[in-house]
Symmetry: C2
Subunit: 571 residues, 2 copies
């Protein structure tokens, strides 16, 4: 793989970030607009809804959904220590309904919240449609009241497919500053949410920096921090220790939490004869606890208390699949689907408390077993948004698992998954660095967008069409700027044709100046237009009428054109 | 993207290649075994069938299909100027049947050729099954009698999905030596065939070097060279010029040729209102010729003569899709499917001459329109092997089109495509270099293998299972060596944990030494085995029986184990 994605974007700048001890760290934050784009804000009453506008050389533009927060403003006013503005603090917040201050409770009560209106503008849907999807539980809006810096977004299969990026340090690598930059970097390239999976020291401080500076919802797995509190020994975990950790994180503003409450004692031995056993970290922690105590999981037995906490802050459950398959061999097995049944039961319990729910899914699944996962999840979990990790469609390509999993991700999203958890090239091998994060996000934006197209989401094809038109008309800069990653597209083009005139030339490096199939096509179009040829009948009539004389005319007019290869693809 | 794939494989060596003028070029050929593997040869009478054996640290091994030729032998005896040994010259060749000296004619006559026996051994199928698939036209064996250096292989949906890598220089880049190394490099990583799409100077000499040194079938698009002969002006093309080019290439040993004989005059205007017109180079050349002369394509009118030539050498038709869509907007349109109908007619004509046929397919197709392409191709073209370029599932990610297309490729292969033409990260932007070739091949091996799994191809899952078991048992080197790209897997792992002991450690960089879900799983397995727990009933009985005392036993025995994250994936 070439390393062009390392390059600093044309208009990106770096802002120093102080490290936790007040010293300035080596890592800086990437700011400034994405190549060829500017930030837009749509004002709806007191709501200021962000967007991104790609400016085209023909005077047109394309407006895109934007996840990047103020960091991509032309002149961002950032104070990382103070955090982003606490915008949502000034929004209207309805009174609790049946004890729940949640988007679900309000939506069921028929209330259109500011968050719903904001999202309706972003998604270009009506507020009423957004509300109804939330009320039915088919969509969630992860917005902890204590994360007022976030720009509300929605996860549900009626909306564009979303992408989550995992970040977080571990015992053996990375600093807080690096993790904050990973968050900014991931959202720059389109991550809709991020999960902080830190397991090393400074979990609380790392999360605080991320929360206060994150424009997107942040998810966590509280059991990781709880485990740190008991020295890494799962047997010493208690409900009280876990509950206090959840409250600590709730106070910081965590928007959704992964809870592996479906790993029941009696399911654990079902994983015994698997090729890869239990591969979920949370799942294995709870399995170890259950077996050691020979008791039912405290996450399951105390689930109602958890719901009460979540209802106060409006934290969304991400019900974890602790028994998800870790290999092709283990896909769709008894352990996995037993747990899914329990997640269905927990979904109903959580919703009874007014708490929003999404369901996590696999993992490693061969293509022919993917759709069954979605159908079963929808059936058992009342169509709660499905949130899947890939799945990887084969196990044989470590170092390329962003690709093995993008195949599965695109297919499972087409079938109805609402959010995809990215996988980076480092999966199974190490922790992702900044470059891996970008590759992971872009790869998953591809999978998500491919699914949007396949689901015929309104407006999804606009970007494809705009880019294809730019390609056809040799508007090279427009093609780059409409791409998911303009910087790498430019870099690859410039490897063979760096000169600025090449970006307006009616040819490219694949064929050189003498050939161009695109150019021939333009001639075909001119010919058809000139002679009013639309249907096959028109064409046949025309051809019969003037087989001979048109020949000479075409020869005179334009046959001496450039003739090129569109690609070095199939000839 | 990181640049680890640039690294020279552990056991790879470099052999200088003389340039065409006799001087030694800068580029060397990569030789030597792939990491952790050795070359095997199975002797069946006078046939010596190659394979690759991955040696595992637990004393086991896994045998794999191998495409790399003698270059990966432990001690290869190579003479690039002389070329590879002309092995097939000494094989038995049956007499022509009805004028055709082709695998198709012989298979129909019930003859089991040496090529069929060789392929049966490689594919682990019976010779009779291989023969019957060829006889029905559902599979092809591209083996020009003048390419005796090649190791026969088969393309058909009953066999493993194959991958083609395009190489070739153009007017603006690359040398012969580079192209020969790209061929060796592509087959090292698993390319089953290569196409030489050279368009610059020295087309004949470049092809001669590639042919004489290629262990895999080589495909070309003769119209490219024919066009060079008339100075790049498609209007000056004639049937005679084209025919002579085909014979020149046939004499050199080209195994299959792309022929865009389905681009009929009356179809051309159907492309006029497309977003991206005609993007196939061959298609646009013929469209320009047809419009300029107002005559039917000479490829179509002289198709029978072409069949007679192909039948003499046993060249396989790859009937080109000159009107394939170049964007999501143009997928499955009237122009594309009109041409496909004509390809169906040409398939029947070619087979009547005893000539083998495969059919080229798109291109750019959104996921929900992919399967229709396969069904229509099978219906119209008598299930001739489908050979598709991706397709790209979205247009919005130039620089990542290996990924956008791997999604479509995996799906179309699952539906029945027999060979996938790779797409590299440089698609639409420039010509692929050596690194791009590797990324393209590995990405397409992923798509092909994912489809083999989804089609439940016998033995496909063996490699996944072997790798997953190695992963579960912390046999790091085995995991790397079983991977499609061991070198990059090692490089990524070593970024965080380079020390040799880390490769046998029961933990990895994701969690560090203190945590390991894989380790917990092993404990669960031990527990279940000890107590004979297989079904959910066993488990429930056991749990009821000894809820209390087992708890202490597990605590004593192994609960104090490492607890880690399998990945930084979903928690």
């Amino acid at each position: 793989m070439a390393d062009a994605s390392n390059s600093v974007p044309t208009s990106a700048r770096k802002t120093d970030i102080p490290d936790i001890d007040g010293a300035t760290a080596d890592v800086a934050i990437t700011t400034g607009p994405i190549r060829g784009s500017s930030k837009t804000y749509q004002q709806i009453d007191h709501l200021r809804v962000p967007g991104r506008r790609v400016h085209l050389s023909n005077g047109e533009h394309l407006d895109l959904y934007d996840t990047s927060g103020p960091y991509t403003d032309a002149d961002p006013h950032l104070d990382l220590e103070a955090g982003l503005p606490r915008t949502r603090d000034s929004w209207n917040r309805p009174d609790p309904v049946d004890g729940a201050s949640t988007q679900l409770a309000w939506a069921r009560a028929g209330l259109i919240t500011d968050e719903v209106r904001y999202i309706a503008a972003r998604e270009q849907m009506t507020p009423e449609f957004v509300r109804s999807e939330v009320a039915s539980g088919r969509a969630v809006i992860p917005v902890n009241h204590h994360h007022p810096e976030s720009e509300p977004m929605i996860i549900g299969k009626a909306f564009t497919v979303k992408v989550n990026a995992n970040i977080g340090n571990s015992a053996v690598s990375s600093s807080i500053a690096e993790e904050v930059e990973k968050m900014v970097w991931a959202t720059r390239w389109g991550a809709d949410t991020i999960m902080d999976l830190s397991t090393g020291k400074d979990i609380h401080a790392t999360r605080e920096w991320i929360m206060r500076n994150s424009p997107v919802p942040v998810g966590t797995v509280p059991i990781y921090q709880a485990l740190e509190k008991c020295g890494g020994d799962p047997v010493k975990l208690t409900w009280e220790m876990y509950r206090d950790t959840v409250i600590e994180q709730a106070e910081q503003g965590v928007d959704y939490m992964t809870v592996h409450a479906g790993v029941l004692l009696r399911y654990v031995p079902l994983a015994a004869n698997r090729v890869t056993g239990i591969v979920s970290r949370g799942g294995s922690i709870m399995a170890a606890w259950c077996l050691a105590h020979h008791e039912e999981s405290f996450l399951y037995t105390h689930f109602d208390e958890l719901c009460e906490i979540f209802a106060r802050y409006d934290i969304t459950f991400s019900l974890g699949d602790g028994l998800r398959p870790g290999s092709i061999a283990d896909a769709n097995d008894a352990a996995q689907f037993a747990e899914l049944h329990t997640l269905g039961e927990l979904t109903k319990r959580a919703k009874a408390f007014g708490v929003q729910v999404m369901i996590e899914g696999p993992g490693h699944v061969p293509m022919h077993k993917i759709v069954e996962n979605v159908r079963l999840e929808e059936e058992l979990c009342e169509e709660a948004p499905f949130y899947t990790l890939g799945p990887l469609a084969t196990d044989i390509a470590p170092a390329y698992d962003h690709i093995t999993s993008a195949i599965g991700a695109a297919m499972i999203a087409q079938a109805g998954t609402a959010m995809l958890c990215y996988v980076t090239p480092k999966e199974h091998l190490g922790l992702p660095n900044r470059d891996d994060v970008k590759v992971g996000v872009i790869t998953y934006k591809i999978a998500a967008h491919a699914a949007d197209l396949a689901k015929a989401h309104p407006r999804a094809q606009e970007r494809d069409d705009a880019l294809s038109r730019a390609r056809f008309e040799f508007r090279w800069n427009d093609q780059f700027n409409l791409a998911l990653d303009p910087d790498t597209a430019v870099a690859y083009h410039d490897e063979t044709m760096p000169a600025e005139p090449a970006k307006t030339a009616h040819f490219c490096s694949m064929c050189g100046p003498k050939f161009c199939s695109m150019r021939i096509s333009a001639d075909v179009r001119d010919y058809a237009r000139e002679h009013n040829l639309v249907t096959q009948d028109d064409i046949d009539r025309k051809l019969a009428a003037d087989m001979a004389d048109k020949s000479q005319q075409f020869l005179d007019a334009g046959a001496q054109v450039y003739l090129p290869l569109d690609t070095v693809g199939t000839p």
